[in-house]
Subunit: 223 residues, 2 copies
């Protein structure tokens, strides 16, 4: 029996890399990256390519696309250089200014459009609900509602599952899972600010450092 085909949304960060590793256990991979004007997109694309090489994904199953419109829509420190990336405050209950309005709807929609053309079986996204920055479009109930919209908004014969294998994991568990699946964590990038070295201060760096610390694993990009 031939393997399933999965479109994996791969930013190049820790979570999406481990998501690719999970998908690779049972599926052939088609990898998708979106540049939407985020500050670190050039660095992200480098990680995307390195991870795609690691999993030996053919050129026809790699897609790096641009959607500058999120930059024009604005409203986020990630896409508007006039808004500073704040230092982390992991205990704050509010949604940080790095939230890109409804971003994951764009990412998932893109994955679904490509999956429908490829006749793929699933779209994988590495969203994490609890142990993250509190973005509303990372929640399980959002993903399940969106999956229903996928089912209703594509061709009748199209069946595309929305897979969210990390959604209820802690960041420390994600690190441990990545290690156990031999995911190439050394090729990932998480920092919101810099392109050369992780800043160590933004919320994404802070979440990553805490995760590796709790998992008792040395972060390979810092060694």
């Amino acid at each position: 029996m031939s393997k399933e085909l999965a479109v994996v949304l791969l930013s190049g960060g820790l979570d999406s890399c481990v998501t690719a590793a999970v998908a690779a256990q049972s599926c052939d991979l088609a990898l998708l990256h979106l540049s939407y004007g985020q500050r670190t997109e050039a660095r992200e694309v480098r990680s995307f390519k390195a991870i795609a090489d690691h999993y030996d994904v053919s050129k026809a199953r790699r897609l790096c696309v641009e959607a500058r419109f999120l930059e024009r829509v604005g409203g986020s420190a990630l896409t508007n250089s006039a808004i500073a990336v704040p230092e982390a405050n992991l205990d704050s209950p509010s949604i940080p200014i790095t939230y890109v309005p409804f971003r994951n709807a764009h990412l998932i929609s893109l994955g679904v459009s490509w999956a429908e053309v490829l006749s793929a079986d699933a779209v994988y996204i590495g969203v994490v609900e609890e142990d993250s920055s509190g973005y509303p479009d990372c929640r399980e109930d959002f993903c399940r509602a969106f999956e229903k919209a996928i089912d209703l908004g594509t061709r009748p014969e199209t069946r595309i599952r929305l897979e969210t294998p990390l959604i209820h994991k802690s960041k420390a568990d994600i690190v441990s899972l990545g290690v156990s699946l031999q995911a190439p964590l050394d090729l990932t990038w998480s920092c919101y600010s810099d392109n050369d070295r992780p800043c160590g201060r933004c919320e994404s760096c802070s979440l990553r450092a805490r995760a590796f610390g709790q998992a008792g694993v040395q972060d390979p990009i810092l060694s």
Copy 2:
């Protein structure tokens, strides 16, 4: 009491123009156009601007954005010049090759991202369910599922309705409604193929001609 603010997805075609006219009855307008590699995008943008001028919408509330990724994803005669635009077959039950996979999810997501930044109250889209080409992402149940995803995937304080005022209307009723609301139908464009004159043969031209005929109205773009 101040008026509501509505983001209207305005392709520049008949349906979206009448949708803008409906929204304008009770809302201030913010108009959004997406160029996604469709053959007639230059002509569409001309119509978008003319309709925006007609409704005296300020520059800050007009947004024309590009998303070439649907062209790269492919799979549709509308975005792939290697696939011919077929002549109309309005009686066929199958989904035509002009279907752009999951396109309306991208359009609505874009409207929602902008609406969240603008603190708008609603996103209007001129989808038509029955009397149209049978695209799955034009159906009421898709729109209602998507509205639920909007509610769950945006900030807790964000409330954005997804308004589909034409969804159960016939094309003839849409023409009549547009006439009664004094919508600038003379500024609209529907043809899938050409940029100068409507081809008169594609499904969009055929649907438009049938609609004006049934409504007993002369199409102003043909006079």
